[in-house]
Amino acid sequence: MPKLKSLEELQKLRKQLQGDIKARTETSATITVGMGTCGIAAGAREVMHAILAELDARDIDAHVTTVGCIGMCSKEPLVDIQQGDEPRITYGNVTPAMVPRMIEEHLIQGNVVEEWVVGRVMGQEV
């Protein structure tokens, strides 16, 4: 590590490093992947990796968490997206190929991708 020569360099370094501990400091959008046996069997792990890769590539702040089965096993892999006070939107039968559009339209533009939605919950609690 070369020595920091100015406040600007420190700020630049901080910006680079912030992503590294985001999980501990941010309270931004949350993306939840159903990771029960049913989810995993239907390919949830691949979907989650696609989400992580997409977020990484586009440098987006969002938490990715996993949950167990919520009972809608036929629609797995299920992915929920929750932003601020907006309703929590559940997408069903998600494939890695769907991830870029979901993130572009929902997370960035704020438009729910209606054709893939299988449920929505008001507030944070399910």
């Binding site: 590590m1 020595k3 920091l4 020569k5 100015s6 406040l7 360099e9 420190l10 700020q11 370094l13 901080r14 680079q16 490093l17 912030q18 992503g19 590294d20 501990i21 985001k22 999980a23 501990r24 400091t25 941010e26 309270t27 949350t30 939840t32 990771m35 029960g36 989650m48 992580l52 977020l55 990484d56 440098d59 938490h63 990715v64 968490t65 996993t66 949950v67 167990g68």
Partner: protein, 598 residues
């Protein structure tokens, strides 16, 4: 851009958690995360303490904010399977509400943390203290950058004065004014010292801070050095704190590597570097002049003031010395502003205070609270009340030389002035809770015994006065006291308080004076009735077996180290008072409450 992790598993590596098995558990976590193929998504991070030390090893899962307590290697597969793979809470590892036994998985919902306000301990347990990049990522060294690029030394001092910060080492002297003295003192060479010599029995605020967030101390020191014009600083840490020493050394190395210590810091032209002085664990070296003598390599004896260190400190040069907690406050004051800081706390005591809450309280650990919180809130809301459903009797604040505050004063506001009025001190933040089974005469005796050993012996009032007070207290606790002893005790205490050279002697009589003030009847009971009401002083108590309650199980007979208990099976047993050494084992083992102490 660093690799993206969806979860960070924070494992506390403080000595308490380490002793409880954190390293094995952490190893198991790493293996399990690897085995489940989660290594690219989930990261295991070592952190400092989150304070809830009675519940270690502690694991904190982010971003969910789930706290698991007493996690051992055997719990790891379930934890990984349930929480990291399936996103479910493992209820058996969470905090439980004492009454309802309801699981409380989230950090902010646990009462122990609910009333806390973490300013100084902001990063402890949240970042890896051995990695400067994590400190920078949470905004670390930004305050230093701001100071070096946009503030004059005078402006920095003004800001600290305006914040109302007072020394966190005990005496509570306004930090900004202290800096001003050192800044105004004539001389080219000036020094700066961080006092991390924590010696109160049972206290670990400074240790935890040095272990958990060493860069906060370094950043505060560098800002202070710029303000007073020092280029060399020392951190005084006792050698009994190996992890604090290790983390501080790593932090200093990394800060140098990043150009945040050493020459030309952040390209500003300002030079400052820090050395560590390891102390040998003498209580008196927490006193500033004794500490300075020790840094110079001399015996740790205090000297009269004035001259104050700000005029003549290390090697006769102007020196500014602050507690490590005071230093860690500085970056917050600079980055958030004095006006934010002085909104927290009371009229005369600003900001927060860290206490190590120990003794007969349910939740022992490290807590940081706004000044002005009441003792009741601290002990009952955060501390969860008294252990085993017993009665609260007193709380001692400020370490061994603090006073004991009784139950009538539980609603006392915790700040410098109120504690002083109540006959105690803020001190460095020790807080020992006592229950009804604590004898106040014995407590006073215990602390004086400690202080007698720690007195450096340089001045007569402290050296001889403490010894005499101790011998009177010992006499009283053995039932040999006289009522006239109480007057002698009080007179001696006043002399020691007034005439001693340094803070050690000046505060040493506090345990005696405060227990005499609030618990005089207990002294009288020892002297006149030859009784110890709490059943502690061995010469004044007698163990006996209550015939009606004894089932004759024989457990006490088998456990008694003196073979002082006899009796037939299923018949009431008896204790021979001649053989009994009053160790209390029979009382502890009896399952039928059949052992009485009188």
């Amino acid at each position: 851009m660093a690799e993206r992790y969806r979860a960070d598993v924070l494992v506390c590596t403080c000595p308490a958690c380490t002793k409880a098995g954190a390293p094995e558990m952490q190893q198991a976590l790493k293996v399990e995360v690897e085995r489940r193929g989660l290594a690219g998504e989930v990261r295991v991070v070592e952190t400092g303490s989150r304070g809830f030390c009675s519940m270690g090893p502690v694991v904190n899962i982010q971003p969910e904010g789930i706290l698991y307590f007493q996690v051992h290697a055997g719990d790891v597969p379930e934890l990984v399977e349930e929480t990291l793979v399936k996103g479910r809470v493992v209820e058996r590892l969470t905090y439980r509400e004492p009454e309802t036994h309801k699981a409380v998985p989230h950090y902010d919902e646990i009462p122990f943390y609910g009333k806390q306000m973490r300013v100084v301990l902001r990063n402890c347990g949240l970042i890896n203290p051995q990695n400067i990049e994590e400190y920078i990522a949470v905004g670390g060294y930004h305050a230093l950058g701001k100071v070096l690029t946009s503030m004059t030394p005078e402006e920095v001092i003004e800001e600290v004065k305006k914040s109302g910060l007072r020394g966190r080492g005990g005496a509570g002297f306004p930090t900004g004014r202290k800096w001003e003295f050192a800044h105004d003192a004539p001389g080219e060479v000036k020094y700066l010292v961080a006092n991390g010599d924590e010696g109160d029995p049972g206290a670990f605020m400074d240790r935890s801070l040095m272990e958990g967030d060493p860069h906060a101390i370094l950043e505060g020191m560098t800002i202070g050095a710029y303000a007073i014009g020092a280029h060399e600083g020392y951190i005084y840490v006792r050698d009994e704190y190996p992890l604090a020493l290790r983390n501080l050394n790593i932090a200093i190395e990394q800060a140098r590597e990043y150009g945040l210590l050493g020459e030309d810091i952040l390209g500003s032209g300002f030079d400052f570097d820090v050395k560590i002085t390891r102390g040998a664990g003498a209580f008196v070296c927490g006193e500033e002049t004794a500490l300075l003598a020790s840094v110079e390599g001399r015996a740790g004896n205090p000297r009269p003031r004035p001259p104050f260190p700000a005029q003549s400190g290390l090697w006769g040069k102007p020196t500014n010395i602050n507690n490590v907690k005071s230093w860690a406050n500085i970056p917050v004051i600079i980055s958030r502003g004095a006006d934010w800081f002085n909104q927290v706390g009371t009229e005369t005591s600003k900001g927060t205070m860290i206490f190590s809450l120990v003794g007969k309280v349910n939740n022992t650990g490290l807590v940081e609270v706004p000044m002005g919180i009441t003792l009741r809130e601290l002990i009952f809301d955060i501390g969860g009340g008294i252990r085993d459903g017993r009665q609260f009797k007193a709380v001692q604040t400020g370490g061994p030389s603090g006073g004991c505050i009784p139950a009538e004063l539980l609603d006392l506001s915790v700040d410098y002035e109120h504690l002083k009025d109540a006959g105690s001190i803020m001190g460095s933040g020790g807080m020992i809770v006592m229950d009804e089974n604590t004898c106040m005469v014995d407590i006073a005796r215990y602390f004086l015994d400690f202080l007698k050993d720690e007195s450096c012996g340089k001045c007569t009032p402290c050296r001889e006065g403490i010894k005499q007070m101790l011998s009177i207290l010992t006499r009283i606790s053995e039932g040999q006291g006289e009522m006239a002893d109480l007057q002698v005790l009080e007179a001696l205490a006043r002399v020691v308080k007034k005439a001693s050279l340094c803070g050690l002697g000046q505060t040493a009589p506090n345990p005696v004076l405060s227990t005499l003030r609030y618990f005089r009847d207990e002294y009288v009971a020892h002297i006149v009735d030859h009784k110890c009401p709490a059943g502690v002083c061995k010469a004044l108590i007698e163990y006996s077996i209550i015939e009606d309650q004894c089932t004759g199980c024989g457990l006490c007979r088998r456990k008694c180290p003196q073979e002082a208990i006899s009796g037939e099976k299923k018949e009431p047993h008896v204790i021979d008072p001649e053989l009994c050494i009053r160790c209390g084992v029979c009382l502890d083992v009896c399952k039928f409450d059949a052992v009485a102490v009188r």
